[in-house]
Amino acid sequence: MLFTATQSLVFFGTISLTTILIRFLPFILFPENKETPQYITYLGRVLPYTIIGMLVIYCLKDISFTETPYGLPEAISIAAIIVLHLWKSNTFLSIGAGTVIYMLLVQFIF
């Protein structure tokens, strides 16, 4: 351990409390018993549709198109997921097959 036990507690405690604060902040600012401003309600409706795309890009953020394998395993697996999901609409099949394809690609081909 690089830190003493007390230092570790303070260190991880800070991260824990800061995370909790961020997660609770919207609910503290806009409590149930007060009417939420229309603009915030609008954001609440529209943001979920924007964030999932952001999460997809977040997962793919470390891909490099200038170095091997040029993001090919990800591109092939995601294409497979899209085709499978539009065709069969089966969540488990799409996620399971996509993951297996990706694992095979990175372990045996790229």
């Binding site: 961020i22 609910f27 939420t36 995601i78 899209i82």
Partner: protein
């Protein structure tokens, strides 16, 4: 069957992709933390009380930078800023969940948020308990994974390389479902394009906050246009 058991049984299938992802990533986290000399107790504690996967990984690299709690606080704000969006999106969903509400808010990770966005409680199932069990099961997977990683660090023989892609796959599938569920594709495209642009401009480690700001500006400026197409 009582209300809670029914909700638990309804919630369980939705969490299976997260079970896979969290067990694997949690194990990786446990292995990394124990490599820094921390026992499984620390893995359990951090996964119980921080419960934010990417930040927990970042915290391990911070350990090497010396004891700077203020810097840790600042970095947590940056890495976890996206949770503000999750909270705003769940303001009305979590309404009326009573005593379960604080835990629903505490456990709102990327994966739990994305499940709560897409999975709706089936008819006859209490919505509050349904959301509660999705959140609770996910955290159980995460905590178990990280304890497992600390204990069996070197016993793994199965080549799991690439299995963390299961979470990417989950997000892609939810993305497709969202795309099909609405005729108004402006918000979905906004999130995607803003993130890609900011990733190119700001690099892989600093693009989330600029992307959030870009998304906010766009949906605010075009509020009338987006709302009129929602009908």
């Amino acid at each position: 069957m009582n209300e809670k058991t029914k909700a638990l049984r309804a919630a369980l299938p939705y969490t299976i992709p997260v079970l896979t992802g969290y067990m694997v990533l949690g194990t990786a986290y446990g292995i990394l933390l124990s490599s820094k000399g921390y026992s499984f107790l620390w893995s359990a504690l951090t996964s119980l009380f921080i419960y934010a996967g990417s930040m927990q990984f970042v915290s391990i690299s911070l350990l090497a930078a010396g004891f700077h709690p203020l810097y840790a606080c600042f970095l947590t704000l940056m890495v976890n800023a996206r949770h503000l969006f999750y909270g705003i999106s769940m303001l009305s969903e979590f309404q009326g969940t009573g005593k379960k509400k604080p835990y629903l808010i505490f456990g709102l990770t990327d994966e739990t948020f994305s499940l709560l966005c897409s999975a709706k409680a089936p008819a006859g199932i209490d919505k509050g308990w349904f959301m509660f069990f999705i959140t609770l099961l996910n955290q159980i997977y995460w905590v178990c994974g990280s304890i497992l990683g600390s204990i069996v660090s070197s016993l793994f023989h199965f080549n799991t390389m690439g299995i963390d892609f299961v979470l990417t796959a989950l997000f892609v599938v939810i993305f497709i479902n969202q795309w099909k569920s609405t005729g108004n594709h402006i918000p979905v495209l906004t999130g995607l394009c803003a993130s890609v642009l900011c990733r190119i401009i700001f690099g892989s480690s600093n693009f989330i906050v600029p992307a959030m700001i870009a998304i906010l500006i766009f949906v605010t400026v075009f509020q009338n246009k987006i709302e009129s197409r929602n009908t």
